[in-house]
């Protein structure tokens, strides 16, 4: 089987994000970068599928030079090779341009199934997987928590409000991974060593023949407002204090 897993390098969920003074982006210098956790479920699922059915796993990632670390992490987990789309012209790629770049890479590779995270934890758009499937003209199973494979078909569970959908489609298709799909393995030391020698193809936008013009433009990054100081309601009479709380919730906070 030819299995593809798309990964994105994102800031560590523990990192303290600081917005640049001019609002053009975030301060990147002090951030620790990790593999998007949802993509990690995708990589794990790809590796399990390979272990069951044979074949190989190719990691595809778009990002600046540092994204190579994330590709290597996936290779250390057990993936076989990688493609790194790296081009300064793609630094501000939106979901569409990202999906177009991934699609251009994947079109040139044999592919039976493509895994993506259901969204990236940095910009939370959740669009890359679906757009990728559209550009490739293949079915998509999104936000999936369980999969079952048979010859040339896949069944997947997608949780919806109060129920679950069981969806089946033919291969090739795009699957976007949701938390709960599996528990990703740790890399191993032999895996880390082998990863150094696994091939990673680096491509730029021109080589892929894609339009780098983003369809969406981020006008400005704004940090969330600082938390306002709390208000302490003083007094000796609990009933009176409760009345005051109710009044404030109604008149100031306007929530009741």
């Amino acid at each position: 089987m030819n299995i593809i897993a798309c990964v994105k390098q994102v800031p560590d969920t523990e990192a303290q994000i600081k917005v640049k003074a001019d609002g053009s982006g975030i301060e990147e210098g002090q951030i620790k970068w990790i593999m998007n956790p949802y993509d990690e479920y995708g990589v794990e699922e790809a590796l399990r599928l390979k272990e069951k059915n044979g074949g190989d796993v190719t990691i595809v990632s778009l990002g600046p030079a540092r994204a190579m670390e994330t590709i290597r992490t996936a290779l250390a987990m057990g993936a076989d090779k990688g493609v790194h789309v790296c081009d300064p012209a793609l630094d501000n790629a939106d979901a569409y341009v990202t999906a177009a770049a991934l699609a251009a890479v994947i079109k040139g590779l044999p592919h039976d199934i493509i895994f993506c995270g259901q969204r990236a934890v940095d910009d939370d758009s959740g669009q890359v997987g679906p757009i990728l499937a559209e550009l490739l003209g293949i079915p998509q199973l999104t936000i999936v928590t369980k999969t079952e494979y048979a010859a040339n078909t896949i069944k997947a569970i997608r949780p919806i409000e109060g129920a679950q959908l069981l969806i089946e489609t033919s291969l090739p298709c795009v699957v976007t991974a949701q938390k709960g799909l599996n528990e990703p393995r740790y890399a191993s030391l032999p895996g880390i060593m082998k990863a150094k020698k696994k091939p990673v193809d680096v491509k730029n936008a021109a080589a892929l023949g894609i339009d780098t013009q983003a369809k969406a433009k981020v006008a400005k990054f704004i940090p969330p407002p600082a938390r306002a100081a709390g208000k302490i309601i003083c007094g000796d009479d609990p009933a009176q204090k409760a009345t005051e709380v109710a009044r404030l919730l109604r008149e100031e906070a306007k929530v009741i």
Binding site: D12, E69, R72, Y186, A187, L189, A195, K196
Partner: protein, 624 residues
């Protein structure tokens, strides 16, 4: 590299990459292929598994503890230990520094020690089960016959079988030569082992399907004392021709200790040959037991230092986070102002002092163990006879300081963490009291600190021909003193220089005492000497680090003072790191290390009260 509750990952990078400059190891062919990203990936993986699997199971070891089945002699560890152990061995950390042709990664000892800090800070009781494989397998790799290697190594390298180290007996603790365990030669070349071992860490557990015990015993007819001791490999389950598990060997765990700390690790009593059928395999040659076991004992001593460092690190980082979040009292400059805002206790001068004591001591411990590891890497790689000789001397003299100095300090650092937490620190609901209880045994096991001190004073210094080990330590310290001139303020150089002169004086005095046969006076000063040399060595390492951190700090902070400096520090992690590291070293040399001179005065005083005191002078206590 993330922020975590266990180890300051940035500081590990500083010591490994900036101070020791591990890239220099590339001059050895065995490390030529490794690069920084390989080391980073290894440390990141250690951190991830330690934080997610070890740290989360630490309280289980303490609060759920072990279950001992008296009928079967089996020990059950907490559930969470299994998954963490599996993550550790699947990643291959137990083989990290073994040579590739033995199935290992061949990574530097420096990276091994740095990784061990994460695991031991996460859960040191569990880490012991993990490292028992490494210690025992290493013994077999270095001393085993081809047949023994074939029988035991594949499963140990695969992380499927555990190990131990069986020395102590009821009547043979510090005095190993008094052991009574016997071995009888059999016609098939094996031996029948009979006897009892106590206080055996990792002695019984249900994590691995088999446990491989290296056991010291005396072959019938061999001389008394340590020179008649041989070493045997005694598996819990015998091994079939094809490497699979055979029948149960005649050895059983007859009980486990109920301890103050390290409750997740089975400190076992092991009975060998209760039915006269316990099979053991000779390791090396007959009567070489002590020599062979010394390899493992030395490794265990250094490992104890790492354990002590790791638990101290976790206690320190917990204390910092607590002090940042615990609001109590107004700032001391506002104490008369009733309406002054309450502040986090980290703003109180005495709490800052406690935290700086812990920070500078933990960072000193880390520099010391990693420096030792770096020297081991050179010793295992170099072909240059002079370099080997010097490196061996450094390792020899620093090993007892790593074991005894760090373990003594761990008890103080973990106690200080409790102090920062106040009353809550004394409560089991909070994690720091476990660190203190876990750490106490480090000064006791693997050779008590009194034994380490005698080893340092006698074997490593006074009886060492021409005091070679000591001369090399002095040479290394002199190199640092020279390099510091012009970079570090003399205020921090002079005390170290003066301390070296003082140490010369003390060693000369001790040499004379040895020639004059003043043996009692001499040995009474063994522990004080060890306890003085630990802060001296840490002061040296802090001075070394200042030669790197001061220029870095200046590059970030320039001459900024007051609010401007505060702004730079709060906006830039690197500025905060280097600034903090400089303050830590200055605190240690300026505020902690000067106690050394008092200790040296005590030694020079040669107070004889302890020589004169006899048992009867200790009045007020019952006779029995």
């Amino acid at each position: 590299m993330s922020l975590n509750q266990l180890v300051d990952s940035r500081d590990v990078r500083f010591v490994v990459f900036e101070m020791l400059d591990i890239d220099k190891l590339k001059r050895f062919e065995r490390f030529a292929e490794f690069d920084r990203s390989m080391y980073e990936d290894t440390l990141n993986l250690a951190e991830k598994i330690a934080v997610n699997q070890f740290y989360t199971s630490n309280a289980d070891g303490d609060k759920i503890g072990l279950k001992f089945n008296t009928a079967t002699g089996e020990v059950t560890v907490p559930d969470s230990f299994h998954k963490a152990f599996q993550a550790f061995t699947e990643a291959g950390f137990h083989n990290l520094m073994f040579p590739p042709d033995e199935g290992g990664m061949g990574l530097p000892v420096t990276i091994s020690f740095a990784s061990e800090e994460y695991f031991n800070a996460g859960n040191t009781a569990l880490s012991m089960y993990c490292s028992s494989i490494t210690g025992t397998a290493h013994l077999i790799i270095n001393n085993g016959s081809a047949a023994l290697k074939k029988m035991f190594l594949p499963k140990m390298i695969a992380g499927e079988w555990g190990g131990t180290m069986c020395l102590t007996e009821p009547g043979a603790g510090t005095d190993v030569g008094a052991l009574k365990t016997k071995a009888m030669r059999q016609s098939d070349g094996t031996y029948l082992i009979s006897g009892q071992k106590i206080f055996i860490s990792n002695g019984e557990q249900d994590i691995t399907e088999n446990i491989i015990h290296p056991v010291l015993a005396r072959i019938e007819g061999d001389p008394a004392g340590t020179k008649g001791i041989s070493i045997f490999i005694v598996p819990k389950y015998l091994v079939n021709e094809d490497g699979s598990l055979g029948k149960r060997n005649d050895m059983i765990c007859s009980g486990i200790e109920h301890k103050m700390g390290l409750k997740g690790n089975a400190t076992s009593t092991l009975n060998f040959g209760d039915n006269g059928k316990c099979v053991g395999y000779l390791l090396g040659k007959e009567c070489q037991g002590m020599k062979i076991m010394f390899q493992l004992m030395n490794e265990a001593r250094i490992y104890t230092g790492i354990q002590a460092q790791s638990v101290s690190s976790a206690a320190y980082l917990h204390a910092v986070t607590y002090a940042r979040n615990r609001i109590q009292g107004a700032h001391i400059t506002q104490m008369l102002n009733d309406s002054a805002p309450k502040v986090a206790i980290i703003e109180h001068p005495d709490v800052k002092r406690m935290l700086l004591y812990m920070k500078s001591t933990v960072e000193g411990m880390r520099m010391l163990t990693l420096y030792l590891a770096y020297n081991q890497d050179i010793m295992l790689s170099s072909a240059d006879a002079e370099e080997l000789k010097e490196t061996k001397a450094v390792i020899e003299i620093l090993t007892p300081i790593v074991k005894a100095g760090i373990s003594d300090a761990a008890w103080l650092v973990t106690a200080e963490a409790i102090q920062v937490y106040g009353g809550y620190g004394y409560c089991q609901e909070y994690p720091v009291e476990q660190y203190a209880r876990d750490s106490k045994v480090f000064s006791i096991y693997e050779g008590t600190n009194a034994i380490q001190s005698l080893d340092l004073q006698m074997r490593k210094i006074l009886m060492d021909p021409n005091h070679y080990n000591y001369s090399i330590l002095k040479k290394r310290i002199a190199e640092t003193l020279k390099a510091a001139k012009g970079i570090v303020d003399d205020k921090y150089i002079t005390p170290v220089d003066r301390g070296m002169a003082k140490l010369d004086e003390v060693i000369n005095m001790m040499s004379s005492q040895m020639q004059e046969g003043k043996f009692m006076a001499l040995v009474l000063n063994a522990t004080p000497l060890q306890q003085a040399m630990f802060p001296l060595v840490l002061a040296w390492l802090h001075l070394w680090s200042l030669t790197i951190t001061i220029p870095k700090m200046k590059a970030f902070l320039g001459d900024a003072k007051g609010e401007a400096r505060q702004k730079l520090v709060s906006e830039n992690n690197e500025a905060a790191y280097y600034g903090g590291r400089v303050l830590s070293s200055q605190f240690f040399i300026g505020s902690e290390y000067p106690k050394y001179f008092g200790k040296m005065e005590c030694i020079m005083g040669n107070e004889g009260a302890a020589i004169k005191a006899v048992s009867d002078n200790f009045t007020g206590a019952l006779k029995e």
